[in-house]
């Protein structure tokens, strides 16, 4: 096991996130059991006041998860010098089987916390707490995930043995390897490129349809999630090649390095924000029939869809610019 300040910090974050989410889940459970909006009893009043604490805790968890996501990628990157075969974050995450699950859990938690806060924001504007059960149900689902993240991350760090010879992005994201990552990398550039841009078209069409028919909300949310996956796949399959100007380097992490002007941050941040906003818009859409939310949801939906579209727009714009700027020619 390694002890570095970054690892200590990450563990500290995981601990505090798990702690706050667990605390929030405990309150959520009480709220689900005793909630009665029509009662003026002191218990109900106490529960209502707890809701402020819970949303604050979740807001904190979201911020911490974002920080942790950034720091995790950075740390994996900086530790790469210590493992034989690791040249960037990919290699470090591959040292043991807990690296990539940790990353995925962090991403999932980030999105779930963002969705929760959005539901909370909408709910707070309905005078009768219309979404209280949905909201705290989701919170109860979120808590085990936060615990799992903490546990998996701990296993990952405990299992970091410097003697382990790991395989790095060169082999994991190589066209000849096996597994999902390799298959992504092995996607021929032309179809991948077509899929990548077709996705942007689909997004646009879905967005227009969603504006017209709000009942398409869940479908729109799913489209956003799909777009997130497709764009990440696109980064692995060809965008990274253009950035590195190397036809065999498929790594999605090296983009975050200073050597590539930190272009990864400019790509990932709008992508994450857009996905969160898009999924949020789709998920709150079905609630627009609730009387106390009729006034708020349409505005919120428009706002979020706009945000999602802007985010994806920035991402696609930057990606296209990177491809055009590159000296690498993949397609004849």
């Amino acid at each position: 096991m390694l002890i570095t300040p970054a690892i200590v910090a990450l563990q500290l974050i995981a601990l505090s996130v798990a702690g706050t989410v667990l605390l929030a889940a405990g309150f959520a459970w009480k709220i689900l059991r005793h909630w009665n909006i029509h009662s003026g009893s002191e218990l109900q009043l106490r529960l209502e006041r707890r809701t402020y604490l819970i949303s604050t805790l979740l807001g904190f968890a979201l911020g911490a998860e974002l920080l942790s996501l950034l720091l995790f990628a950075q740390t994996a990157e900086s530790l790469s010098g210590q493992f034989v075969g690791a040249m960037c974050a990919t290699g470090v995450l591959n040292v043991n089987p807990f690296g990539f699950p940790t990353l995925l859990l962090k991403i999932a938690l980030f999105f779930l916390a963002a969705l929760w806060l959005l539901l909370n924001r909408v709910d707070n504007r309905g005078y009768d707490y219309p979404l209280v059960r949905v909201k705290y149900g989701l919170l109860l689902a979120l808590a085990p995930l936060a615990l799992l993240e903490g546990a998996v991350q701990t296993r990952f760090f405990l299992g970091l043995e410097p003697e382990v010879i790991t395989s790095c992005c060169g082999s994991l994201f190589s066209a000849t390897g096996q597994g999902v990552a390799a298959e992504l990398a092995g996607l021929p550039a032309r179809p991948a490129l077509v899929l990548f841009y077709a996705m942007s078209g689909l997004l646009l069409v879905m967005e227009l349809a969603f504006r017209r028919w709000p009942q398409l909300g869940p479908l729109f949310a799913a489209t956003n999630l799909l777009a997130f996956t497709v764009t990440i796949a696109g980064i692995v399959a060809f965008l990274s090649l253009y950035v590195y100007e190397n036809p065999n380097h498929h790594c999605p992490f090296c983009l975050l390095k200073a050597g590539y002007d930190y272009v990864g941050y400019a790509l990932y941040l709008p992508l994450f924000a857009a996905t969160a906003a898009g999924m949020g818009a789709g998920i709150i859409a079905p609630f627009h029939r609730i009387v106390s939310l009729q006034a708020t949801i349409p505005g919120e939906m428009r706002h979020l869809t706009g945000l999602a579209l802007t985010g994806f727009g920035v991402f696609y714009g930057l990606a296209t610019w990177l491809i055009l700027r590159s000296n690498l020619i993949l397609l004849g």
């Binding site: 029509h38 003026g40 002191e42 009043l45 209502e48 005078y127 009768d128």
Partner: protein, 227 residues
């Protein structure tokens, strides 16, 4: 405009020190005029004002404001209603020490997010109206009792509320200053605001400006007379 229907308030419900502050009070209050809630201390008049002013929720019963049901609104929305409808003047003035007179007057308006300049101009106008223009930038600790009460009155009016609630407004003032405050409240009532006062000071409920006196005893309404 404000209607109470069999409203009760219980503190520390289900505990040995349970206290029934209000028992099934029903009441209608019309727009305008001064209404005084009178009764000995512990009779429930302050509790009743907190319920009317959306500071607290009744344990049972219904309260409506212009036909809109308030009694089961969450605190968040009660605050929203309170900000726009009610202004408060408290027994101990309740000014915040360390801040200037002007800042104290502007405090209730901060959460509304109005432009700062507009807010400051409004506050200055109010202070001028109550003869405190010169004191705007001095700290509240240095004010006399009468000045403090007028500052509190200006603060209560900054969000231009329809209803002004004053809890024992004369308790800390001598009779000359009490009359001055009553005159100011009367002036506000004639301008169309509804003024609700709780008091056990004879000077208040014998004043000429008062339109209606409601008497409370042990949490029940025992008298309702119009003057």
């Amino acid at each position: 405009m404000i209607a109470l229907h069999e409203v009760s308030k219980v503190f520390n419900q289900g505990q040995p020190n349970e206290c029934r502050a209000l028992r099934e009070v029903s009441l209608r209050l019309e727009r305008g005029g001064i209404t005084v809630f009178k009764g000995p201390s512990g009779s429930g008049k302050t509790t009743l004002l907190t319920l009317i002013g959306c500071l607290a929720r009744p344990t049972a019963g219904r309260i409506t404001l212009d036909g809109r049901l308030l009694s089961n609104l969450p605190e968040r929305f009660l605050t929203e209603v309170r900000r726009h409808t009610f202004g408060f003047v408290f027994q101990q003035f309740n000014l915040i020490r360390g801040l200037t007179v002007l800042d104290n007057v502007m405090l209730p308006a901060y959460p509304l997010g109005k432009p700062h300049r507009e807010l400051r101009d409004g506050a200055r106008a109010l202070l001028d109206r109550f003869g405190l223009g010169a004191k705007a930038d001095s700290r509240v600790e240095w004010l006399s009792g009468g000045e403090a009460q007028r500052t509190a009155l200006a603060r209560a009016l900054i969000n231009d509320p329809a209803v002004l609630i004053a809890d024992e407004p004369t308790a800390n003032l001598d009779s000359a200053l009490s009359r001055e405050v009553l005159a100011l409240l009367g002036e506000l009532a004639t301008q169309g605001r509804t003024v609700l006062i709780s008091s056990h000071d004879p000077l208040v409920f014998e004043a000429v400006q008062v339109d209606r006196i409601i008497e409370l005893h042990d949490g029940r309404m025992v008298g309702d007379s119009r003057c």
